[in-house]
Symmetry: C4
Subunit: 266 residues, 4 copies
């Protein structure tokens, strides 16, 4: 976990690149992280495609999703999604709103998105939210604070919520956990769609889901996946300049992380 503002902002930019490179985000969607030293603020790129966001594009907002300092930047119109979830869920430190093609079919068909393989366990129970239920016909964007608060209520104590005819919003205790849950949530959705086409779906038992999610959210799995996605970002020529240092920093850490367990062995 990065321990200062520069590092967390660089990690936010990197998470934006990873989630774009893994096919979750396109021109739209956004990722934010809560200020590590002040829970009443969060960081998010200005209004632009996540893959294009640089460190200099990151703005600091309060939980009403207003900029802390005056800015000339246009902001994401749906930023209240982030602010309202941070308000409602103190343990959430990172949020991603996306329209990935893997999960959209569930938002359109209304089929339940349930964990069907071990890595998918991290999505937990995924409720639906339909903006139309509370707000009638709208432009389908979550722009008003009341809309964001309604979505946060639908998320409740869970970690992912499907938005009918729109997309999904995912939460995490950290950027790495968020990235892991978002990518494997998409993988789980793709596999579930294929099993639906096979005519039968087997799901994780509640006990399996709980044990497996807890195991996959431990640092070794998280770090192994993160290092892999960073390498893929690098191969795609997408490593942000300032984040190159961050990527380098993350490697010795990963090595350090492996030592405790390894030392017990001989």
């Amino acid at each position: 976990m990065p321990d200062n503002l520069t590092e967390i902002i660089e990690e936010l930019v990197l998470a934006n690149r990873i989630l774009s490179n893994e096919g979750v985000l396109d021109a739209f969607g956004h990722v934010s992280v809560r200020h590590p030293g002040d829970p009443s603020r969060y960081f998010i790129p200005r209004h632009r495609a996540p893959e294009l966001a640089e460190v200099s594009d990151i703005v600091e907002l309060n939980l009403d999703s207003e900029p802390v300092k005056p800015t000339e930047f246009r902001l994401y119109s749906e930023r209240v999604i982030h602010g309202e979830i941070y308000k409602a869920r103190p343990e959430v430190n990172a949020v991603c709103h996306h329209h990935a093609h893997a999960v959209l079919p569930f938002a359109i068909s209304g089929r339940e998105l349930v964990p069907v393989f071990h890595l998918g366990a991290v999505i937990g129970e995924v409720p639906f939210w339909d903006q139309r239920d509370e707000f009638g016909d709208t432009n389908m964007l979550v722009i008003k604070p009341a809309e964001g608060a309604s979505l946060a209520r639908a998320l409740g104590p869970h970690w992912m919520v499907l938005m009918r005819r729109h997309g999904a919003t995912v939460a995490g205790t950290s950027l790495r956990e968020l990235t892991f849950r978002t990518v494997f949530g998409c993988d789980n959705a793709k596999l579930l769609s294929q099993a639906i086409a096979h005519g039968h779906v087997d799901t994780l038992s509640p006990g399996e889901a709980k044990l497996t999610s807890a195991h996959q959210l431990r640092p070794p799995s998280q770090g192994r996946a993160w290092d892999y996605w960073v390498r893929r970002v690098e191969k795609a020529g997408l490593l942000p300049r300032p984040a190159k240092a961050a990527a380098a920093r993350s490697k010795p850490k990963a090595a350090k992380a492996s030592k405790p367990k390894a030392k017990k062995r001989r």
Copy 2:
């Protein structure tokens, strides 16, 4: 919006690259733009794959789809699609005819292509046209003016028309709007096909479709998506030489576009 001929021709080349790079166009299909200063003319590449078209390949045609100046270039055999739509629809300034794999299944199965997520709202109502109805057995290409006029009638006041066993034609008030509608029309089609496989489809209400389409066609959404697609063209090594300048020009504009709203905030 480009304000002189050089810029609009460069933007046309760029739109051809974007739509090829996003998987809409392959060896076939074509994109045109109306002359900004003379509504009785339009620009379109000569007969070659859209991705390969350069500024020097652009020809100027009248609305009967004949070249304004003598040319040695072979022209697209289906160019009347463009001319006849420009004749019938004064507010249309850009047209794309394509055979994208995302929408062809609808042209083959006859399933209705309806908006199923917010970005898909921009397709509006999508009528069908079957060349066979009026012209019997043909080589299936829209070559004769009467065939183009028939297609334009089927399009009517709408923005996209499906051509049975052939493809689709999309219209826009500008190249950017056309590109946005074409790409997200394909995304909407892919997602709808997947929801069909789930066994249930939820669609936008008429009110949602209207409000959402209007919102997505505003400059900020258009610009954000365009900048993203240009970057992807650049990553793929497809940025046309003269358009590099145009791409550079578009960036300060995008920044400028964001200022009005941003200035209100502080």
Copy 3:
């Protein structure tokens, strides 16, 4: 059409690269061309993945599929597919045997592969061949001359044949026609599979199929698609060294080809 042996061998290598790059061929499958000056011989790469074949890998075989000159090269075990089709069909000058994922589902399910969009018209009527019918349990490869002859009989007067639980074989009057039919045959198969999933399939009328196929097999369509695929091979870094000259040669030709029609216009 290349007019000497060097050119035709370079074009053969290029066709191998194109069909690999377009996802038709992988480690397996093969493409051959008949000797332009001696109809009793044909050229084909030695036993290696088509994408890796160089000009120096091309061998010359007689119609019994034996090498004309002694060679140390291992040859494709299924080369009789080519020889037997060249024997049976004097007008065929190029053959491709492949296991493309687009068409295999038809070879497995037994669903008929019929033209469902204009470019797919070039496949014509596609018969099935099941090696098991005549030869019982085998290693499923077409190795014996009798097996090749049986396949050629199943192909009959057509241009594509599906081989049950195995793949497909496609024929053409030239390498360019073969490449066009093979790629758009795969596209047609993909689109048909998707329309099947939609629950309804509309097909070309016999008259449409005939008129459309004839039109698409004319030089302008062929050249436009070939130039596009060559450019894609180039972008993928797969342009064979000797073929670079051939690719350069093909461009002025394409320009020349467009002139006759263009000259009539003014």
Copy 4:
């Protein structure tokens, strides 16, 4: 087959890259090879994404999956899969555990994975294993020796086993055979899923499956596919530094392999 430790370790790294590049492995999954000189040991990368594994990441484990020499490296938590299969199956010299999207739908739906095209014959009969049957609710990972032994029993005399709601494990007599079976096992699964969507599935007869598998596992097919995958790894910029020499070494070998048969011909 490599004949010394350096070569086999380089080949193991290359197999990891190939299986990542072909879409079988992602951040997770692992590949091992038995020590060619000591059947009671095997080589496997330390705990990291297979694509990132270098020669310096390879560790040597005994069949209880404990390191032969003390190491600071974190090890794969599921390494008992490898050790227990090597214990139970003396003829197995290479093992891959993966979660490829091609086969997961079968692990979720419970549909039988059967050979449906000639190259798929190499998977043979594929049994299912459900960790829940013997161990109840777990974290779904095969961590305990008893779990690995149970999986090895389910594999029995076969070469591939599906793990419910988890993935698959594949075995081979060599790294090349393992790679071939793993990649074409995935291809077979993809094609079978598509045939299921067509509504009918034709399968290989038992006689075809036996004859075809035996033929495809001979050196020429194996070598042709391996050379192709190595080239693709090279194109993707993934050729490991030390393996570059190995790749170069493999080429003259392939040439040598072709000579015996070729010499008979003239």
